[in-house]
Amino acid sequence: MNTTPRNEFLGGIQAELPILVGVIPFGMIYGALARSAGMPPGAAQAMSAVVFAGSSQFIMAQLWGEATPIFVILVTVLIVNLRHGLYSASIAPYVKHLSSSWKWLLSYLLTDEAYAVAIVHYRQVEDGSGGKVTLETGKQHWYFLGAGLALWSTWQISTAVGILLGAVIPDSLSLDFTLTLTFIALVMPTLKGKGELVAALVGGTVAVIGAAWPLKLGLLCGALTGILAGLWSDRK
């Protein structure tokens, strides 16, 4: 099966769609929160393009409203976004052959939501479950780009709506749950061996234990202990 940039690009957008249902209310809530924290509309909107990382934008808006020292805000952003370093390392082998401009562009788009669909696609292509396309001849970076741009535009627009209208979505709709459900759909096919299963169970459990820890440390510690536990269970 041959793949074209266009097919890959559209495939990436399509894969991102269910995630976007959950991203829209999230972006709107951020916009509303940033305004109520006293950020001018222009700055609140620019943040979505300059930082482009949901959780850390929420925390920044909150800390800004509480007049937190800038240094503390920056360290917080650093720690909250450290998990993206794991994404960067895990996706690196797949984008190795690309030009620098592609690398710089895709890095900018490397959020939780774009990483999730891109890495699953790369893995499927790699073990042949996604057709006969090899990574060398493949155009999977277009898929990554499609997913990333779909997310990026949705994030900008939903931020703008949140800034203008406030968050008008009733809580009872639970649209944020679509994010979790999409991650479930993406994680299940990755549980191929004992190591993956252990990584998932330990990572999830530690994250539950650490859910109340500040700076999303529960998530970061969960991810790291999950990886280590998975490696340990797979040791020879």
Partner: protein, 106 residues
């Protein structure tokens, strides 16, 4: 308000460097088998660390019970994903179960 813009731009640069760092570094460095194995475990470990708290906690407290709609919906979504590997179907099953649950309980 320049302080806000300053903070934002530095935060953006920090975030960007974190995302770019390994993509640029690993181009030069040969990675070992062990590291490769670890990187393969990033998706299951990170996604579960995002999923579990949303399913098992309710208002910050551990809620392993039939009264926890997100847990029930999540478990059925897990079964759906496992059997069908279909993302859209998994999302639909989860949302329908959660909505039905909320209507019945409230």
């Amino acid at each position: 308000m320049t302080a806000l813009w300053f903070t934002m731009i530095i935060a953006g640069v920090i975030t960007y460097i974190i995302r770019l760092m390994f993509i640029l570094l690993l181009e030069k460095v040969q990675i070992s088998e062990q590291v490769k194995k670890g990187l393969n475990l990033v998706p299951p470990a990170v996604f579960s660390a995002i999923i579990f708290p949303d399913l098992f906690l309710k208002n910050g407290d551990l809620a392993i019970s039939f009264m926890n709609g997100r847990l029930i919906a999540g478990l059925l979504a897990i079964i759906t994903a496992w059997r069908t590997k279909n993302i859209v179907l998994t999302v639909i099953v989860g949302m329908v179960v959660l909505t039905v649950f909320q209507v019945l309980i409230q």
